[in-house]
């Protein structure tokens, strides 16, 4: 057998707290989490633009969610809570620069995200345009449209002012307008003023 020995181990997954948790397949909270997995994966995919990374993000997020499940007071809030964990997990990966991020804005196609076949080339083009938005614009747009977060919630989560979030949302859509041959609106917003 040819050698394929690992390089030095990173922090093991289990080192989050090391305590045995013993989630069971029939556990209602596991069922709840699992039922939201497709939504979480979709959300992560739009953020990460890479299927394998998105799947990793979701796995990590589910693990964190399970270990913090006592913090979830109402099941009705589970979706937003899990999406927030996914977003933070993505941010953690992004900020730590553990990944060699490719400049997708330069036209490189995201990995593992095939465009669905179909007659609606307009939507396909729009998907491509969304994926090419810089993260600072794509992230609040995805949070708002896909996640259902309010501007105030996005501002809190991203540590921005509400005005900054509004500006980013405006700019995201303004960039997408041009794809339709529409003239972009004038953008004289002042600097965002990160909180």
């Amino acid at each position: 057998m040819r050698g394929m020995r690992n390089s030095g181990p990173e922090t093991p997954v289990s080192s989050y707290d090391g305590s045995p948790v013993g989630a069971k397949a029939g556990d209602p909270i596991v069922t709840l989490f699992e039922s939201m997995r497709p939504d979480l994966l979709r959300f992560a995919l739009w953020l990460a633009r890479d299927r394998a990374i998105a799947e990793d993000i979701v796995q990590e997020a589910l693990l964190r969610a399970w270990r913090s499940r006592d913090a979830l007071k109402e099941q009705a809030a589970a979706r937003a809570w899990l999406l927030t964990i996914v977003r933070r997990e993505h941010a953690r990966l992004y900020e730590r620069k553990r990944l060699e991020l490719v400049a997708l804005d330069d036209g490189v196609e995201p990995e593992g995200m095939p465009s669905p076949p179909g007659p609606d080339s307009e939507l396909d083009s729009l998907r491509g345009a969304i994926l090419k938005l810089p993260l600072e614009y794509r992230e609040p747009l995805i949070m708002q449209v896909l996640g259902g977060f309010t501007t105030a919630e996005i501002a809190q989560e991203l540590n921005l002012t509400s005005t900054a979030v509004l500006t980013r949302l405006f700019r995201a859509r303004n960039k997408l307008r041009t794809m339709y041959g529409l003239a972009p609106a004038a953008d004289d917003a002042e600097s965002e003023g990160v909180a």
């Binding site: 799947e55 969304i130 896909l146 405006f170």
Partner: protein, 238 residues
């Protein structure tokens, strides 16, 4: 309110109810009203693009518990029993013993392993070799290394299993594809073989936890399991 201020608010929240100031502006500015109409249409398309985007046409890698439950519920029901009362009572007693036996920790683990692998049934048919760096990364996070040919791993994921994220591999062997799950948090006292739902498997004790190896069919897995077990090296305390 200026045109630009109005368009900033519209562009940021096309579907939001306009505040009084914006409403007044829109009532008197045809251009901004047109801008609002365009942005509402655009936003509807953005929503459709996002909701039916990357996952459309590609399988969800791990089926939801609900899907599995539904699939299982759809299995044909057994015909109703016609046993007499005493036979029923006896069967309940026997069943109780069997349930207690079946719920031994090891057997419960085996059943959940089979269920998990069934969730990821696509894993068996993967025909693309996983890059060694990916495999190494997945395994390293569990504190293990695999001393096996780099062209043998056809599937490698980190999976949520019993409250932990664990490596889930499918490797090519002389017996065909074999699933390997490294379970640092699942201690077993002794080696356990099992057959369930068309799979043959073995759970073996490991320096940290255990290793589960499963294959399709009823053919013995012992030789392959030994080979795989010898290929796994524990690098750290998980």
């Amino acid at each position: 309110m200026t045109h630009n201020e109005a368009r900033l608010l519209i562009g940021a929240e096309p579907h939001a109810a306009p505040n009084l100031e914006l409403a007044e502006h829109l009532a008197t500015c045809a251009e901004c009203a047109q801008f609002q109409s365009e942005m509402i249409v655009l936003d509807g398309n953005i929503r459709r693009a996002l909701e039916h985007g990357p996952l459309t046409g590609t399988p969800t890698p791990v089926a939801s518990v609900t899907q599995i439950s539904n699939a299982r519920a759809a299995r044909p029901a057994k015909p109703p029993s016609v046993w007499s009362g005493w036979a029923l009572a006896a069967s309940v007693a026997v069943a109780s013993v069997l349930v207690m036996w079946a719920l031994r920790p090891g057997d419960t683990l085996a059943r959940e392993l089979v269920t998990h692998v069934e969730y990821e049934s696509d894993s068996w048919s993967s025909d693309r070799v996983v890059p060694p760096a990916t495999v190494n990364d997945i395994l390293a996070k569990a504190g293990v290394a695999l001393d096996m040919g780099s062209d043998k791993v056809m599937y490698a994921r980190r999976c949520f299993f019993r409250g932990h994220v664990v490596p889930h591999l499918v490797v090519t062997t002389s017996r065909g594809p074999v699933t390997v799950l490294v379970l640092p948090h699942e201690k077993v006292r002794e080696r356990m073989n099992f057959h369930e739902d068309g799979m043959t498997g073995v759970i073996t004790p490991a320096p940290h936890g255990s290793i589960a190896i499963l294959a399709l069919g009823s053919e013995s897995i012992d030789a392959v399991a030994q080979e795989v077990q010898q290929s796994v090296h524990w690098l750290s305390q998980p």
